[in-house]
Symmetry: C2
Subunit: 342 residues, 2 copies
Amino acid sequence: MTTLPVPRNLAELQTPAPLVDAAILAANLARMAQAWPGERLRPHVKAHKCTELARHQRGSGHPGFTCATIREVEGMVAAGLGQDLLLANEVLDASRLGALVAAGARVTVAVDSPATVHAAQRAGLREVLVDVNVGLPRCGCAPDDAGSLAELARGAGLEVRGVMGYEGHTMMVGDRDDRARQVAKSMALLEQAHGAVGGPVRSAGGTGSWDLNASATELQAGSYALMDTAYAAIGVPFGPALSILATVISVSPKGWAVADCGLKALGMDHGNPSLPDSSAVWYCSDEHVVFGPPAGGSLPKVGDQVRVLPAHVDPTVAYHERLYLTEGDRVLEAWPVDLRGW
Amino acid sequence: MTTLPVPRNLAELQTPAPLVDAAILAANLARMAQAWPGERLRPHVKAHKCTELARHQRGSGHPGFTCATIREVEGMVAAGLGQDLLLANEVLDASRLGALVAAGARVTVAVDSPATVHAAQRAGLREVLVDVNVGLPRCGCAPDDAGSLAELARGAGLEVRGVMGYEGHTMMVGDRDDRARQVAKSMALLEQAHGAVGGPVRSAGGTGSWDLNASATELQAGSYALMDTAYAAIGVPFGPALSILATVISVSPKGWAVADCGLKALGMDHGNPSLPDSSAVWYCSDEHVVFGPPAGGSLPKVGDQVRVLPAHVDPTVAYHERLYLTEGDRVLEAWPVDLRGW
């Protein structure tokens, strides 16, 4: 790892560099905290993998967090943010989580099968949520099996805090009414399972259902903090806090420019990134984004800096070592992306 | 970073974990070294970002390497592999490269504009290649401008070692005859430029043109060492050395399984990964790959380990901290992926 002093302005940054606009981030955190205050929001750290950003979310009033990997849980505990962590995923070897619990952290894990219940028990975990399939073909037991799984877990000495069910298949439904209907249908399944399971928690939702999910006792949203163009396209009202600063390294007289933000600096599963001035992005290769001029506009010059807006925030951030908090052209702080890996 | 002792077998690995089959890697390196021996191959480290793997490539006879980022150049020098490094990319701030040259490393950089020539000069670099556009709409000057750019560079006191021109647009052309024709067309442009530029080097090519490019004095291939399903699909005869080990964490009675190798463990720009038994991959999310059973076969069980074959090696490796060299179920060594970042 290169350890460099934090540059003071954008012109000094080695590109590609992920920038977080401090004002947009603060507005996103405030808007969400108003709708889902305190414990009602359990911010998902997978969307930023950054304990400094999580600290700001805690500063917005949210004491508990959602994690997707064991490493994320470990890193949050190491940062002093282990008051109430949910690993919203199934694990077969939970020994590292058990060690955290033995050392005093509060870690709840999702279970959806006898094997995952036994893994939690073996590792010395104390608390679980029954993960229920609410329509997304991924993890989660059938709603009808949730009660017996809870019984199995309680028989194994585990505290069952309730249920979780992620309506992920609804997040990107473009039509808002349709999205609302599908969210409600998923939550009806989760409520049915919750009735059989008991416990105070019904954990669900994400940025796409933040103002549609009327059922979750706690929302697991993550993308709202930094945002991406895919969520922006469905009209959620959080601002684009994240952009990747890039340098134009080549311009062709034939009508394209190349900047040094390639697909190793971007999650590509939601497609190409965008440029704020609506330049047409042609394609990305490992270390390059190639783009044409915006409609009626012209190409930048070699050496110019441009900002690239990622299509999917989570896998974008996971490529970078640090996020730079910015205000205009000033760099305020450098935040390690310290929750990467597994 | 978690520092763990190297596990001795696959069952002990935290998944997802990138595995490198030692025998397949050795066969790939040997096959390429036979066709492009010694200095005729300049292996591209961007495909693995791992100095230990580069050391094996040097052991196969290749003293020089190709890099895509400043960090890759720095890491190779730090690992004692700085005998002859080409940064096959344009940079506007070359000061970190200049520091390496001042300390005794040999670093050649690509230039395609007066601005990049001046950047190299300012930074104290001594050697450049003129990067020529040979058909891929990306970097590189027009073939007709190569001679005057070389003149400018020489006037600035730089040694011009020759030209480079990456025929990247031809790499994935499925039909071999068509690929051959397109490679030849690109190399005719590069030869024309080379005539105007002079110098001993005509650097070009990649894994997709390894047995078609009859013009390059040195080949810049990288993917051949570890391979991926996209290159396998066009029939290049290198074996799948890289796979990602994953654990099945959930199986649905409705007919799908979920393993813990998601899109943050895979480059997704070439599409979904594959499973060796031809199970149908449905989709990936951040930490999950969801798949159905293979034709006529059945799903694995919760807790089983499966291997996932990435579609694009370069952005896959860039997500991981280390590669595990394996022989069957044994883990031989752990190699840091130490060239990540910028």
